[in-house]
């Protein structure tokens, strides 16, 4: 039950993009086409899940027992950066199809604050190993959901008559505001 709450909460109620404001850069940058939004979302979900699997043991089995919590930020960012490199290499070697779909998005993920933010929040909330992984999958899918909805809306917006200075980021942010408003309706979904 707790796991379900964590999952739904990360997916909808406390959506990473629309309520925690993490991963805004790709949210604005990669949301102009539906197909690239789906790929980016999958890549983030994938990396986030692996991040969950790797960072939990690092913090709870290495840093915390030896009182090295102050290395949390340095070690997490280095681990995530090398993880992304490793995943990229692995995919390139194993599957041409997946690499074509996700390849170009992977390097962008290193600087996606949603990944590091997720790792830090999981530590802050003191989740167990399983909870952290569920949280990672939920957060990744939540990111994908927001990105895909946004891309769908933006594809339609191409045909709209938007004022010159609002074109691009301006209107995207305003639409995101309305989306966030809609997502607020999910609060109270679980009691």
């Amino acid at each position: 039950m707790d796991l379900l709450i964590i999952f739904v909460s990360a997916l909808l109620i406390n959506n990473f993009v629309l309520s925690y404001f993490l991963g805004i850069c790709p949210f604005l940058g990669v949301s102009n086409k539906l197909s690239s939004a789906v790929s980016m979302g999958m890549a983030v979900t994938f990396v986030m899940t692996i991040t969950a699997v790797v960072t939990w043991p690092i913090y709870h089995l290495i840093l915390a027992p030896y009182h090295l919590e102050f290395l949390e930020i340095v070690s997490f960012i280095l681990v995530i950066a090398s993880l992304v490199q490793f995943v990229e290499m692995f995919i390139r070697k194993t599957s041409e199809a997946i690499y074509d779909a996700l390849g170009i998005y992977l390097p962008l993920i290193t600087t996606n604050c949603a990944i590091l933010g997720f790792a830090l929040i999981a530590v802050l909330k003191n989740y167990t190993y399983i909870e952290t992984i569920v949280f990672g999958v939920g957060a990744g899918l939540g990111f994908t959901l927001a990105l895909v909805i946004m891309a769908g809306i933006r594809e339609e917006l191409d045909f709209a008559d938007v004022p010159e200075s609002l074109k691009g980021p301006g209107i995207t942010l305003l639409v995101a505001g309305i989306l966030a408003l809609a997502f607020m309706g999910f609060a109270g979904l679980i009691k």
Partner: protein, 184 residues
């Protein structure tokens, strides 16, 4: 190349270690002070406190007066609210019959609505000196302050779910604390 990177990493870890040692006592003091202040608030007259139970989301502290006499227990508990987790601390007497008062330590409820669970005049005033032999009950419909029974509290208008969450979290914790204290 590897050498330079290693050097950078070693220097930075050294610097951080030094800085961590320097800030650690302050950070710990802050953390402790926050909990201690809350204990003194919810169990009036507490001078010293002792940890009886220390879990991630559930803690019991015993509060003692200046002669070392047991005054009551402060209960720290975390539960799901409307939006995110709510962290609560409340104080009960040593016979587990009366709740002194309740404090909301952390919450992320909707500002202006659910967030009013931290407001003394709107919500917290109902939680003083409650009878906790049974459960706390949310009064339906809300009553005048003098008409509330000694185990009833009023909900915040417009934030019934947040109010009900607090009641549920407290009742759950009450049940636990009664068991824990009975079993020593």
């Amino acid at each position: 190349m590897i050498f330079v990177l290693t050097l950078v990493a070693v220097i930075s870890s050294g610097l951080l270690a030094y800085f961590a040692v320097y800030t650690q006592p302050y950070i710990e003091k802050n953390k402790k002070a926050e909990i201690e202040k809350a204990i003194k608030e919810v169990v009036p007259g507490t001078i010293e406190s002792k940890v009886l139970k220390d879990e991630n989301k559930f803690k019991i502290f015993a509060g003692y007066d200046k002669d070392g006499k047991l005054l009551g227990y402060a209960v720290y508990t975390v539960g799901t609210g409307f939006q995110d987790l709510i962290t609560i601390m409340f104080g009960v007497d040593k016979h587990l019959e009366k709740m002194y008062r309740l404090e909301v330590l952390e919450q992320k409820e909707t500002p202006g609505l659910g967030a009013k669970i931290t407001d003394e005049n709107i919500f917290l005033k109902f939680w003083k000196n409650k009878n906790i032999r049974g459960e706390i009950i949310l009064a339906k419909p809300p009553k005048g302050e003098s008409e509330l029974k000694d185990n009833e509290v009023n909900a915040i208008s417009g934030a019934t779910i947040s109010s009900r969450s607090v009641v549920t979290i407290v009742n759950k914790a009450l049940k636990r604390v009664k068991e824990e204290v009975k079993n020593g």
